[in-house]
Amino acid sequence: MTGSDPIPVTLTVNGRTYRVFAEPRRLLSDVLREDCCLTGTHVGCEHGVCGACTILFDGAPARACLLYAVQAQGHAITTIEAFAANGELSVVQQALHEEHGLQCGFCTPGIVVTMEAWLDRHPDPTEAEIREALSGNLCRCTGYHNIVAAVMKAAARRRTEVVR
């Protein structure tokens, strides 16, 4: 058993190893942003509702504000920084850009991460299914219309891609 003092924590984020020193109570969202200097994961509420902090935990979307960094040891964390490989936008990112699916951009990383994972499991969604999947990410700027259009477009493109 450890006390509440900072302890060494080893995180695997986007395939890289980060060794940090953190109290058990430190939120994964804070450790990613401050200790790993991966500021693409945004903090909007710290109680799991807005979805801005969504990352992938062993490939599944999870709120980084509802995880403590110590819990992530031995697991694979994926953040927004993993998606544009070599500066080239992913299918979802490119579609959001083309469809004007972002305005201030604060909710965008959470949406990209959620949709990338969700589209892996739901390659041919209806609009209603997309809206349902998006309902865990709050956007105050766009009214969601263009985000939905972007996800539809991304799904269609992913289906026609020969090699991922």
Binding site: E23, R25, R26, R33, C37, L38, T39, G40, T41, H42, V43, G44, C45, E46, H47, V49, C50, A52, T79, I80, E81, F83, A84, L89, Q93, L96, H97, E98, H100, L102, Q103, C104, G105, F106, C107, T108, P109, V112, E127, I130, R131, E132, L134, S135, G136, N137, L138, C139, R140, C141, T142, G143, Y144, H145, N146, I147, V148
Partner: protein, 789 residues
């Protein structure tokens, strides 16, 4: 690749790359070495005297560097005095942090500075504040009662603003009228809830005696002016730098007490200090909005023609005035008549203080306007048994009526309310809807059709403020520079929080200069480099900012072409233009490449100025200022279809259409996005959003589990159809448009729900249109259950 016209092109946004990849640079993404963290201790009481604040244990806590209260801050800063010379407005003044009494739950009373936020929150629990509870004032009626406790002890009553206005002879019209129709409308208290909360980081350079403030703020220069004044610094001693902003909607304009405290602390401590507001603080203590009740009386003839209109509006302004208390309600009063031909009009505005978080402008501060005017029209139609669309047609301004001077003195011109309404009705196919509605009603499915005509006031010019007695200017400033290499930089005194300025303004600047917008860089938000402007608010960005940039770019184009003419040995530049980064000359009716490129000319202007024609200064820079007309109106017609589940009171919005006309459009994709975003905010407000205070003044809406925002499921697809009637009074022909969507949704949804409720003989008079409220209406007074299908 260059297009001849870049204004009007639906270019995807230049700024997107950093945002979609998570490389946006918002305030908390900026690493500042040696930085401390501030955290505020806030009142748990709605109204209480501060008897004593014991900070000793907190000061001794781990990681704590300082703890300050209102007393220290009163020495380091000046109070906020809000005393514009407006008749009927009581002046208010309050210190940076209160030291006598607290006025709402969440009122900050102390600030802890520690090495991290976790330790600061730990220390906050060690602060002991002794309060003596006072009776709170938690609603408008109580606030205005004779024996009500005073929210602000310096005022004679809680009625902080009271204004009346009359034009024409409404009294006589009412006396003569056969029919007088009354209607009531209540909006709930709401809050902006941007996904990024407030925050700032202050750095004091003791050697230069200079303050740098990183803050996401919509109006960097006015903010800097305020900050310097409150800290007793000169404006030269303060730089405000705005990073990317995660949404603002009017909440990030004022210099808040927390930001001022952080700046003062940075100076005192000689170390950078930063602050992040958490979501609970943002919902409880940042800025609230709306919470008003409006009543109208309309004198009408037998056909439904409005002979006179009276408006009474009362607003619950909360406890502190960060803005003149009357200004939001006043705009409603001034523009209410909107698209209708009404000359005899009066309004009475009352604004009261209560023990709640203070109000400020929230996207479309005048949001209630369209609901009130359209709701009044519909009340008239119901009373006379007429089609509300016909009543609108009867009263609506036609092209021949324009320019029309509203009874308030504002001039409506270049608007198309009738045209957008008729277009919207055609596209929607109301007749087909009515058939479907009738059929479905027989199966117990209740659909409703709603209509709302919006005339949106935007881009207030200096003359508007003057006429309204509000100090301040409406102008905007911009500069455009062509660098020695031909690269183009431009800046304007606005600050983006999602509007896409880096793209639209690049398009505006690119056009006269004949360059690719990809090669025009827009710089915003740094008060050292951007020109002094009034910032982004009141839907002024496109018109005020775009216009001034166009003027500056045109001035630079003119200079470049004069230089080009001289280089080409021509007497005048009349037959020259810039295209694709080159000079072109018209010969025999056709344009041909003429030799010098823009880069060549720039090189000469900066590095070989002796080749310039006499009288021309070296360099290629143009700086302009532009004061827009007092008001620029745009208009739109909103239609929606709802499905009401009468068993539960649930409303689903099944279709939403807006036909809008905002004149010249720089980028249609961005304009559509603004409409959709504004409409969604309106729908969210109508159906879900309500800040609830209980009878003891406790705020029950302090988390996103309680303050509900619409998700992608509640917001329908939003169809936007655009018409374009340019303003003849703005250089670009554009008009503002980014708030009208809220106005339209706030009016269209109740209109649709009333249509769905028609068989039941009840109407909605307040928002949100919650299931509980709708069931209450359907159930009827004194009945346990009714209308369950």
């Amino acid at each position: 690749m260059t297009q001849a016209r870049t204004i009007g092109a639906a270019l995807p946004r230049k700024e997107d790359f950093r945002f979609v990849t998570g490389q946006g640079r918002y305030l908390d993404d900026i690493a500042i070495p040696n930085c401390l963290h501030a955290h505020f201790v806030r009142s748990p009481h709605a109204h209480a005297r501060i008897v004593a604040i014991d900070c000793e244990a907190a000061r001794a806590a781990e990681g704590v560097v300082a703890v300050v209260t209102g007393r220290e801050l009163a020495e380091w800063t000046t109070p906020l005095r809000m005393a514009p010379p407006i008749e009927g407005l009581q002046p208010t003044e309050f210190p940076t942090l209160p030291f006598d009494k607290v006025r709402f739950v969440g009122d900050p009373v102390a600030c802890i500075v520690a090495i991290d936020r976790y330790l600061a929150e730990d220390a906050a629990e060690l602060i002991e504040v002794a309060y003596e509870a006072l009776e709170p004032v938690v609603d408008l009626e109580r606030a205005l009662a004779r024996d009500a406790p005073l929210v602000d002890d310096n005022l004679s009553s809680n009625l902080v603003a009271h204004q009346s206005f009359s034009a024409g002879d409404p009294g006589r019209r009412f006396a003569e009228a056969e029919i007088v129709v009354t209607a009531e409308f209540r909006q709930p208290r709401q809050t902006h809830a941007p996904i990024e909360t407030r925050g700032c980081c202050a750095l004091w350079d003791g050697g230069r005696r200079h303050l740098t403030m990183h803050v996401g703020n919509q109006v960097p220069h006015p903010f800097r002016t305020q900050l310097a004044r409150r800290l007793r610094l000169t404006e030269s001693q303060v730089t405000v730098i705005c990073p990317d902003i995660g949404g603002a909607f009017g909440q990030k304009i004022a210099l808040y007490r927390e930001e001022l405290t952080v700046a003062a602390l940075a100076r005192q401590l000689g170390r950078p200090v930063r602050w992040r507001e958490d979501r609970a603080e943002n919902l409880i203590a940042a800025s609230h909005a709306r919470e008003d009740v409006a009543r109208t009386r309309a004198a009408v003839d037998g056909d439904g023609r409005i002979l006179a209109l009276e408006l009474e509006i009362a607003e619950d302004f909360g406890a502190y005035c960060f803005y003149p208390a009357n200004y939001l309600a006043r705009v409603v009063g001034m523009i209410l008549t909107g698209p209708y031909r009404i000359n005899d009009y009066a309004f009475d505005i009352k604004v009261a203080l209560t023990n709640k978080c203070g109000n400020g402008p929230m996207r479309a501060p005048m949001a209630i306007t369209s609901w009130v005017m359209e709701g009044t029209i519909e009340a008239i139609a119901r009373r006379l048994g007429r089609d509300p669309i016909e009543v609108r047609r009867l009263n609506m301004l036609q092209a021949a009526d324009l320019p029309f001077t509203m009874p308030s003195g504002l001039v409506v011109e270049d608007v198309t309310p009738r045209e957008t309404m008729e277009a919207a009705l055609r596209i929607f196919d109301v007749a087909a809807f009515r058939e479907r509605q009738a059929r479905d009603r027989t199966h117990g499915i209740h659909r409703g059709f709603g209509l709302c005509c919006v005339v949106e006031s935007t881009t207030y010019g200096s003359a508007f403020y003057k006429a309204a007695g509000i100090p301040g200017s409406g102008h905007e400033s911009g500069w455009v520079k062509i660098e020695p290499s031909g690269a183009v930089n431009a800046s304007v005194g606005l600050m983006a929080s999602g509007q896409g300025y880096e793209t639209t303004f690049a398009q505006v600047v690119a056009e006269p200069l004949g360059v690719d917008p990809a090669n025009v860089q827009i710089h915003l938000g740094n008060t050292d480099t951007a020109p002094y402007g009034m910032g982004s608010r009141g839907a002024r960005g496109g018109t005020a900012g775009g216009s001034v940039l166009l003027l500056a770019a045109q001035a630079l184009r003119d200079k470049v072409l004069i230089i080009a003419a001289a280089l080409l040995g021509l007497n005048s530049s009349g037959e020259l233009r810039l295209r694709g980064g080159r000079v072109e000359r018209r010969l025999g009716g056709e344009w041909h490449a003429a030799g010098p490129s823009l880069a060549d000319i720039a090189h000469i202007a900066y590095l070989d100025p002796l080749r310039l024609p006499p009288g021309l200064e070296p360099g290629l820079e143009a700086h302009r200022a532009y004061d827009p007309p007092p008001i620029t109106f745009s208009n739109a017609t909103h239609l929606c279809e709802v499905r009401l589940d009468v068993a539960t009171g649930h409303v689903a919005v099944e279709r939403y259409l807006v036909v809008e006309d905002c004149g010249t459009v720089y980028n249609p994709a961005i304009v559509r996005g603004q409409q959709q975003g504004a409409i969604a905010m309106g729908i969210s407000g109508v159906l879900l959003e309500e800040v609830i205070y209980d009878e003891t003044g406790q705020n029950r809406s302090g988390s996103f589990a309680d303050y509900l925002l619409a998700t992608a499921v509640e917001i329908p697809p939003i169809e936007v159809v655009s018409q374009h009637t340019p303003s003849r009074h703005t250089p670009t022909g554009s008009k503002g448009m980014s708030e009208g969507g809220v106005m339209g949704a706030i009016g269209a949804l109740p209109s649709a729900v009333n249509d769905a409720l028609a068989p039941f003989g009840v109407i909605v008079e307040r928002q949100p249109l919650s299931p509980m409220y709708l069931r209450e209406l359907l159930r009827g007074p004194g009945r346990e259950k009714n209308c369950l299908d």
